[in-house]
Amino acid sequence: MTDTGTAVGGRAPAAGAPAGDPTATTTAIVVAGAPAAGGGAAALLPWERGTVLERLLGQLDDLGIRTVCVLVRPAHEAAVRAVAGDRVRVSPDTAADLRAIAEAAAAPGGGGIVILPGEIVTHREALAGLLKDPRVVTGTLLGGGWRARQFAFRVRSKRGRVISAASPYHTAHRPTSAFLGVLKVAAADRPALVTSAARLAELTADPSAEWRDELERKTEMWRGALWRAAHRGGEEADEGDGEDEPIDEFADDPEEPETPADPVLSAEDDALLREKLAAAPEDATALALVGLVRSGTHVGVNRLRRLFWARPLSAAAVARAEVDILDYDEDKVLLDSAVKASDGFFTTFFVSTYSRYIARWAARRGFTPNQVTTFSVLIGFLAAAAFATGERWGLVAGAILLQAAFTTDCVDGQLARYTRTFSKLGAWLDSIFDRTKEYACFAGLAIGASRMGDPVWTLACAAITLQTARHFSDFSFGAGQSRMIGDIEQPPLERSLDAAGLAAAERRARAQQEPPAEQPAEPPPRPEPAQPDPLPRRVLRAWHTIDRLPGVRWVKKMAAFPIGERFAAISISAALFDPRVTFVVLLSWGGFAVLYTLSGRVLRSIVR
């Protein structure tokens, strides 16, 4: 089985990072402390003719990471040394793991560091997706699939940034994704890793009562999750991934069967829980992530998409993973996930369905995303010129050309994501040329209308003003949100609760007219607000809740009049009617979108 290979031609040269690339990851720290069921290290569980660890080391080597350090418990040193040779370093416990991480990060020179557990089983492309993505400077691999990944520590991310992370001793309030064990730290963020890992090493050597309570709470949480999984009755359709950052920031976890106070597990589940409990305190990777997040480091997000991932802790689990991973078509997953999850309705259902195959064709022919972008804007200018003729055939030809330009516009981004050739220049070309195409078509339509004897320059000026104002509202709203996320004050590492968790605990304490408890006051998994929320918050929550109804999300996306809908509206109205109708449609739909987004943003601004 060659699950390390890829089907895309010409990707091999990307394996070695170009010299001097400041974003390159050059060092890997493999934490192999997790014990397997029945003794031994989980990383040494057999995989095909070798071990899980050998497979992982091969993938890291293939990704061009030359310096590898495997942290191993003294009892397993000889066995790991047989696999990893002189890359082994003995580390008696988790605190020593963290000290070793701090030391490696403090070592002079070198580029980025990746920290990951030795027992991880995933595709090479999942690792490459994080390590080779220059957009994520320091970041983590995240996944959805709550139920399948009931043991994974959780994180809360917002706008592509991790704002809170869980570890054996830390919680993430209202989590959005599961942390999949892989943490990439850019060279520039190594000092933060040094400081936080050294501090965590001190704290982990002798966990405080607060920390021990948190681990106890997690044990109960996992026990409850296992019980619910056993009593849920068959439906396991939660493997979905890709866009797992819930749109609904106020949502609670999906509905679950009521868990009894003291759930009794089957023997099999009980064994699973014991495996996890033995491994959880050894999770230096999760602790390192908490350290970075709590020190205010910008930790970005890379998603597993629909690739395979597992952290087996028993021979049986490895055997299952060996079979399951065969079901995955890596190239198909890569191509599918090259399609942006946040696109609008028209783009998703009428363009991306076939444009991804054009992207794959372009990748095999060796076209670059920037070439496709340039080609797209040239077609856009042709469309504008056709509109400017003011003839019926010109309007029809312009409509068709504009759709061709839009398709190629989708292709460039998909090609970039598929081949992982990201560049800031490319991102800029894509954005600025989109605007150029659109406004050139406005000009073309207005010139055409004048030639047809029906000047519409007022409407054209109104349309370009409206669209620009709409974009600037988006830009500014986004910038404000990012700034707010950056301003979150992170609690010190000693605290188990994160910033939002502490705030919630304080609210609860105040609502009960009691002084805030020193310990996290018996944090129930789903705290009931003591008093009804203010109206705007209730409206917003109801607004988010209806997203669960089928189709509602798409209707909302269409209401915001995104680029695919705009280009389709231009093409259809110009081809069938005339430029005046086009501008009236653009202004009415755009005006409606303004009211729609405006009311949402005003509500959010009031709630804040």
Binding site: F422, T436, S476
Partner: protein
Amino acid sequence: MSATTTVAPAEQRPQLPDNVAVYRDDGPLAQAIGRALGPNVPVPAMALLVLGAGAILALAALAGSAASLGLTAAGVAVLLLTFGITSVRYPKASFHWAVPSLVRVGEYATLAWLAGTADALPAAFALIAALTFRHYDLVYRLRHRAEVPPRWLNLLAAGWDGRVIIAWLLLALGALPAAMYVWAGLLGAVSVAETVASWRRFERSRATAGEFDELEGEGE
């Protein structure tokens, strides 16, 4: 293996200039008005912005292309005052996102209205199109390269305040539409040339500042 490794604190990411200030594209006059009147006018910033943009839209809708030179001068003055004062006074932070859009609506609508009174709307469209390049570039420059345009380019572009005054002067001098076309062409050409040159510099320097692309849901 020592537990306490003393290392310098994590390198701080450079603090970017405030997005709203950059996106507003204020010229020297607007800033001067803001400094002089901002602290003394007890009207909320949001009200001033809505008032300014609303006044122009109302004038353009009611008087339209029949507006006299005096009325257009009054409109420009209202815009300069209301928007100018808000150049130093922002609404509360959770409403900052509304500011740049209102400034753009006020500016573009004024330019179109002024040109409309001289039957020069196509020239206004050309100027607005050239300006959209500048304004989107302000956003993308900050996002991708963590930069703002050089001072000379900002002065040449004159800010929204300078531009509405120039447009009114051109109208008063009877130079529309020809002068506005020339202006749009020059502004567009200089903006594009400077952007291309600065991108070339950035790519050569292999700088790592800035972000790659927009976050989900923002822009397209």
